[in-house]
């Protein structure tokens, strides 16, 4: 229970506007005053005096031009405070960090999973489809890969090309097929066993920066690797018949002039 002394102390700091009425210590002090007529009279006297003083002082108006200048300065302060809060507010910080984390995760997934690039899944299916046929479906043709453009033109396939460094690759057979109505030129390379595929990049939505390889996997459990790069409007694919991405990178490094 609140003592008389504490109640008096609390009530002496009571705001005459009544804004303190819901405060727990003020309610307790008012209860004490209700039981002590002297304190009650003292408090009512104080309240009347405070209200009279406040009413007199508030009657002195603020000049309109002063009020306008003060309002402008107050708005500048409030605007500055809000800008500071936008960076200091823990909620905003949490949102910012979460956003950065999301960007990081998306970037990691995007970069780390090559096959998630547009068209890579289709390339994997195309390579798998192309690799299922036997040697009897190939036309025997032993020639360096760099000489095949004319042969394919004769077969109504325009645009066959290999990247610099791959011209000397020893081709042993060639064929054409269609993947989702897209003409594909195929060259089988003897050592080591690999396939070169050339087709238009745009229908599969492939867009690969110049001189960059993009790697993917195909076959049972994604055991075999392929690599794609873009040569103008055409896509060039190297697919190992039996080898993972590490082996494919070793294979690519064997071509002395091939860009890395």
């Amino acid at each position: 229970m609140m003592t008389l002394k504490t109640a008096r102390q609390v009530l002496r700091a009571y705001r005459p506007s009544g804004e303190d009425d819901e405060e727990r210590d003020v309610r307790a002090a008012l209860k004490v005053a209700g039981r002590h007529p002297v304190l009650e009279a003292e408090f009512q006297n104080q309240l009347a005096f405070d209200r009279a003083i406040a009413a007199k002082l508030e009657a002195n108006p603020v000049a309109p031009e002063t009020a306008a200048d003060l309002a402008e300065a107050a708005q500048r302060l409030e605007a500055r405070r809000r800008r500071r809060l936008s960076f200091r507010d823990p909620a905003m910080l949490a949102v910012g960090l979460a956003f950065l984390f999301l960007i990081g995760v998306v970037g990691w997934v995007f970069v780390g999973q090559g096959s998630s690039f547009a068209g890579m899944q289709e390339v994997a299916e195309m390579v798998e489809q192309g690799g299922r046929v036997g040697p009897d479906r190939f036309t025997e043709l032993e020639t360096p890969a760099g000489t095949l453009a004319d042969w394919f033109v004769m077969q109504n396939f325009d645009g066959f090309a290999v990247p610099p460094g791959f011209e000397a690759a020893p081709v042993v057979g060639v064929r054409q097929f269609k993947f989702e109505e897209i003409p594909v030129a195929v060259a089988a390379v003897a050592r080591p066993r690999a396939m070169f595929y050339v087709f238009e990049a745009q229908p599969l939505g492939l867009t690969i920066p110049a001189d960059r390889w993009r790697f993917g996997a195909y076959g049972p459990k994604g055991r075999n690797a392929f690599a794609v790069r873009q040569l103008g409007p055409m896509a060039f694919v190297v697919a190992l018949r039996d080898g993972d991405e590490a082996e494919l990178k070793t294979y690519l490094a064997r071509w002395p002039d091939a860009p890395r």
Binding site: R8, L57, L77
Partner: protein, 167 residues
Amino acid sequence: MSDRDPWEQSLLRFARILVGEEAPARQLTLEVLEAATTRPPAHADAGEIGKFLYRELRRRALERRPATPATPATPATPATPVNGSVDLAPDAAAAVHPLETDRIEAAFRDLPEPGRSALALLLLDGLDADTIARVLGLNDADLAAALHGARVALHAALVPVAPEVQP
């Protein structure tokens, strides 16, 4: 801050009590608002800025104005002691009603600190006791004593010119 006026006008009213005249009070209020905008306190939530504004305004005002007497004025009317303190005279409000605002402001300005600031923040700005205590650096007991002393002194200063107040 008070909901009777925009808060910046409450700040001006506090400045009026501290420095007296309108022009310097206006200048001081604008200076303090500018200071809070350019060099805001570390924890810039509304409550902290409010305390900063009042503290800074009072600090600057006291620097520019001769210090008021440190001891409370003696009430003109002998009061009944209650628990060792001096009571506010009975029906004290009656002394206030017929007076002009200028007269009350002048009496208010002559009150000793920190009672003058405490009472101004309570009555004019509507600050709660905790906030006033923090602005003025007082504990609860000292704040209550300062407020009571300021009331008694203010009433004592007003009574001699209040013709209808009976001795």
